[in-house]
Symmetry: C2
Subunit: 336 residues, 2 copies
């Protein structure tokens, strides 16, 4: 008999989530049933949106339905097939699923996506080589339609999407201004990713002034992972006919009830700005072109794989808090 440990939501947080809201439970895992596949997870993803799902009220979209109390949490995970009663999967295959937050599981074939490594690091398929990286690509290439020579501002630039966006924009010949919180991230952005300017928003009193200083002639494109005061600052500094790709609103995830829109929406009109929100799953047609580009950059040593790892299932709740404390560089992954 196989056992699997899983992390369950024990209670809903009152205010800040704490470890007390979670419990780790060992459950028996029966052999896979007819047509089923048994998978042992190797990597699981910890994402900003998961925090909102800990709370009862939050139904901005299906992805943000509350986690159930007493049940294992869910999320993207990559694992290896251990046993299979389905001809489509064989032992040793790599698969992705939404069965994160647990060590092993049985699933039907339609719950699994095959991963066929093609020369990139395994963890890349959970980040830059998956929907996360494609999000950066779609936002820059389609929503904001960057051109070589554009000045591109990227917020939350040391995060999973942001670090990919900075690199793609640089590779496309843009000048990149990145914002992030804290000296370690600023150093990383400048020294590792090679951005042109990096703004430590935690160390400055006035983000708009800092952005003006970093881009004296204005910016052409804002890749928004944050919303809030970052969006307001970008609206001030964007050049006429500038473009905004709206990718995430971390400031809003934290507490949708108190989020407020930018007060200077009038700039949209006075500067003829364009703003486009997007969900990567509407743009999967771009995936092949992006993957080809990524392999090319990798082959020429032009792309940095950026991940932050935690080890062991028990570290997952703390890893989620760390994402909110802004401690990750690139994608936060838990190795199981």
């Amino acid at each position: 008999m196989t056992f699997s440990r899983e992390i369950r939501l024990k209670s809903r947080p009152q205010g800040q989530p704490s470890l007390d809201n979670f419990e780790i439970v060992s459950v028996k895992l029966p052999p896979p049933g007819s047509g089923q596949i048994q998978v042992r997870n190797r990597l699981m993803s910890v994402d900003p949106y998961m925090r909102g799902r800990l709370f009862a009220k939050n139904a901005i979209n299906p992805q943000s339905r509350p986690f159930e109390i007493g049940a294992a949490l869910t999320g993207t995970a990559m694992g290896e097939v251990m046993a299979s009663n389905n001809p489509a999967f064989k032992v040793g295959d790599l698969v992705k699923s939404q069965y994160g937050w647990r060590e092993a599981y049985n699933a039907s074939a339609n719950e699994l996506t095959s991963v066929t490594p093609d020369g990139l690091p395994l963890e890349a398929y959970m980040a830059a080589a998956g929907p996360i990286g494609l999000t950066a690509y779609v936002g820059l290439m389609r929503a904001a339609a960057i051109n070589p020579g554009n000045v591109v501002f990227v917020s939350a630039a040391a995060g999973a999407v942001g670090a990919t966006a900075c690199q793609i924009a640089k590779l496309q010949g843009c000048k990149v201004i990145a914002s992030a919180g804290g000296p370690a991230k600023i150093r990383f952005l400048k020294e590792e990713l090679g951005v042109d300017e990096a703004i430590d928003y935690k160390a400055i009193p006035d983000l708009t002034a800092a952005l003006h200083h970093a881009a004296p002639d204005g910016i052409d494109v804002y890749f928004d992972n944050v919303g809030g005061n970052h969006l307001e600052a970008a609206l001030e500094v964007l050049r006429p006919r500038g473009r905004i790709a709206l990718c995430g609103l971390i400031s809003g995830y934290a507490d949708p009830d108190i989020s407020s829109g930018p007060r200077n929406m009038i700039r949209m009109i006075t500067k003829s700005l364009m703003m486009m929100g997007f969900e990567v799953f509407d743009h999967m047609d771009m995936a092949p072109a992006y993957h080809d580009a990524l392999k090319g950059w990798h082959a020429r040593g032009r792309f940095k794989w950026v991940h932050t790892f935690r080890d062991g299932l028990a570290s997952a709740p703390e890893a989620l808090f760390a994402v909110y404390r802004g401690e990750n560089l690139g994608k936060m992954l838990v190795r199981l």
Copy 2:
């Protein structure tokens, strides 16, 4: 010796503007100088943005620079050439200028634009056949890219831009949902302009609910003349991949310091929405096509000219207040 009366800003308003903030003064008008043209105004425009210019602090854009105390206000006006020392203009020509708020003036040629009537009512050239109408056309056809069958929501729909937008959208085969304040406007929108649904936002407690009710399957396009709660409601009711043309933010003109952006910007992402601000003067390339279309609609009796008139220069300040009290249907014009 010719005299001209003009309206000057006597003092800046503290709170709501009142007639005490204006004075009407009679000034001597010398004969036109060398190269100059003397014009007597026939119609002058009273526009929402003028209210902001009464106040000292307000420099959102050049058009919103404060009016000077002790000087005549300015604004679009149409007049007739009375005397000319310039071969480009002859007596009887119709011209537009920014010399509104006065009965007559001398100007140089580069301050005047010729108006050549081509079969439309004279006042049309101050409204639907000028930049105001083109604003509606550009917003719908380019910024929002409407298609036949789209459900289009227009706010401030009984105003100068809004009434034109409603008609163009209907003529393009769209379903039109219009919002305005008060039963007279609702009646006008339904009976005169033939919109499909009209929402009296002053008579309902919940604009989002009313919009959902008017468009149970959602809207494809929002033509925004208002901002504020209208924009929030539209963000709720827009269908995935919907488009917003940002044309005006009346709620923001009134007091830019307290204006706040929509709290539900997250919808931009979850529904992959596109928002485009625009200034009509960036899109003058569309003017010929629009004017041709307008003449065609007029010839076939398909377009209603909508204006509200006041008579005499002295009525202009009150006309401006009336625009803010929402008493105008279509463009507010003062006949001089």
